[in-house]
Amino acid sequence: MKGLIRAEVRRLAKRRVTRLMVVLLVLGLGAIAVAFTAASTKVGPAQVAAAEAETQRQYEESLRMHQQNLAECEAARTRGENVSLYWPPDCSTDPGFAPQRDQFDTSWNLPYEFHFRDQFGTFISVFAGILALFGFIVGASYVGAEWHTGAMMNLLLWRPRRLSVLFTKLGVLLGGVLGITVVLGALWTAAFWLIGRYDGQTGKMTQGAWESFALTGARGAGLVLAVTAVAFGLASIGRHTAMALGAAVGVGVLSEIGIRIALTVAQVRFADRWVLSTYVLAWFQKRWELQEWRACNLSASGQCEPDIFIVTWQQSALVFGLGTAVVLAAAIWLMRSRDIT
């Protein structure tokens, strides 16, 4: 068994798709980190002073424009023209039309500053999404190409216990993807913490804040593994990489476009409840609120409030878990029973 595991680890690492995808993954994630390093600026007294000066300039410019408008209005009124088409009837004797200094916020002119504690959660989701795509392609190709080229059949002549071969391949794949996720996840966290430290703000990182990030990261890693396993299962069922890619496109089109349009036309309540991406959002956000705007619930203040449906991360776990289990069960059943011709 150790020999088979060693062979599969070597096979996965030697594959061109795996190597290419790792390079693209590292380059892609690196590019995002570099872009945010360049985009984020640590805000200090100089940046605040510059922003205040710019805000004051904008206020004065606005005031100058207002006074110029008043003068043009007065001139038009003197000429007996109907000014009410373009200006207030009294050419703005109402002071409410004049720009006020407090309407100009200094923060508008501050440069973008990355805030690690407030914003890194979103970047964990981005990281997980990219890793899930990586896992999908590598997982589908790993077993799909093996079947398609006949290498799997050749291997089964050496190791006739089919399920043992399938589980070893799946285990090695999930282990490899998890390893890459953990290593790159640590580098991703370190990179954004450094951006916050030197080009932005880290915020007050309490133990609770780190735990929250860790839990979001764990959910992200779970999604990456589920997507990888589903891709592996689909490609194994179809004995071709294209089976997984085709199924992904099919589910994407059907779920995100077809179901959404059909349910909206049929006026089904909370149509997005049946769309897969809703569960992805709930998975990362812990809960996702769907609103039914056609309903009108009068609040105490007399306002019309929509109906609410909450999708929780536990429900997402159930959907993803069941989906993964069904695909893997089908792959296992076919591996056991199919004739390899």
Binding site: G3, K14, G150, L157, W158, R159, R161, T341
Partner: protein, 327 residues
């Protein structure tokens, strides 16, 4: 073991039916039997679609049979196949490898998977003549080179039983001769070789015994010489001093109980016990034999006769179209 202490491979009553929702059922194997003795080079012959590859795949656990029994090296398969797989080297149909790996990588990975020492990899590469091309990607190989790699992969675990499906496919004449020599060498070292091939001249040269399959059934089996003898018909070619006497000689022999086919320059006589009977009978009627020779058959003619696949002028035989011949 099913029978016989020296049998390395035994198949009894093997049945396999392929079922398709759209194309219905097709019986690929219909009670097929086969026995291969230890140390032999055994030819496994049959026309396209006769069930050869299905038999080999079933034997190697790739296809599930609907009935029958099989044993390899005394172990019943598929139940005991994992225990015996390490002693069986096989290539089934065309060589199939991951195209982006080199031959070296391909064999090295198989060695790891089969827990075979890595030192065996250069040995088999040398044996099949791929030593100098071992680090090139398989996708750059010719069919013959892939075939050599397939044989190398089968030899990697130093098997006791080697099953080769069309090993000479794609090889150049030199390669075919090398493959023939390799088979002999392996057989001499004690390895049992089962060889499926359509190059019947090769099979006749290197095989000790054969099994011929047609329409999923065994139609002939045994040592090559015996199979040829059984199907030569015991006939003789008879030539006389004067060809004008042939019609008279034919009448004499038919009257004496022989079956005679009159040809322009000779008679083809069958249904006789001894060739000397022909000489004696004709001499009794003042007809003197100039040449008397036994009819010789080769494996190809026996194969075509048994499988009913001999070409017929003006007809286009379809795959699976064979004549049923009693076993």
């Amino acid at each position: 073991m099913l029978s016989g202490v020296t049998a390395v491979l035994e198949i009894e009553g093997l049945r396999k039916t392929y079922r398709s929702r759209f194309r219905g059922a097709r019986q690929a194997l219909d009670g097929f039997d086969m026995v291969v003795e230890a140390g032999q080079v055994h030819g496994f012959l049959g026309p396209n679609g006769s069930g050869k590859t299905t038999t080999l795949r079933t034997l190697l656990g790739l296809i599930r049979p609907n009935g029958g029994r099989m044993a390899i090296l005394g172990e019943e398969v598929p139940v005991r196949l994992p225990a015996v797989a390490g002693r069986v080297g096989a290539i089934v149909e065309s060589p199939q490898f991951f195209p982006h790996f080199s031959a070296q990588d391909t064999l090295s990975l198989l060695a790891d998977a089969g827990e075979v020492p890595q030192a065996r990899v250069p040995e088999v590469l040398e044996l099949v003549g791929l030593r100098d091309r071992a680090k090139e990607r398989v996708k750059t190989y010719s069919l013959g080179m892939k075939q050599r790699l397939a044989v190398a992969s089968a030899l990697l675990k130093s098997p006791e039983l080697l099953i080769l499906d069309e090993p000479a496919n794609g090889l150049d004449p030199g390669g075919i001769r090398e493959m023939r020599d390799l088979m002999r060498q392996l057989s001499a070292s004690g390895m049992t070789v089962v060889l499926s091939s359509h190059i019947l001249g090769e099979v006749q040269q290197i095989c000790d015994s054969v099994t011929i399959i047609s329409l999923g059934r065994r139609v002939a089996s045994g040592p090559v010489a015996e199979v040829l003898a059984q199907h030569s018909g015991g006939g003789v070619v008879v030539r006389l001093e004067s060809a004008t006497d042939l019609p008279q000689a034919a009448q004499v022999l038919v009257a004496a109980g022989a079956r005679v086919d009159l040809k322009p320059d000779h008679l083809l006589v069958t249904g006789i016990e001894k060739p000397a009977w022909v000489t004696r009978t004709l001499a009794g009627h003042d007809l003197y034999v100039n040449e008397l020779a036994p009819v010789t058959v080769d494996l190809e003619s026996v194969f075509l006769e048994l499988t009913g696949t001999a070409p017929v002028a003006g007809q286009h035989r379809q795959v699976d179209q064979s004549v049923e011949v009693p076993a």
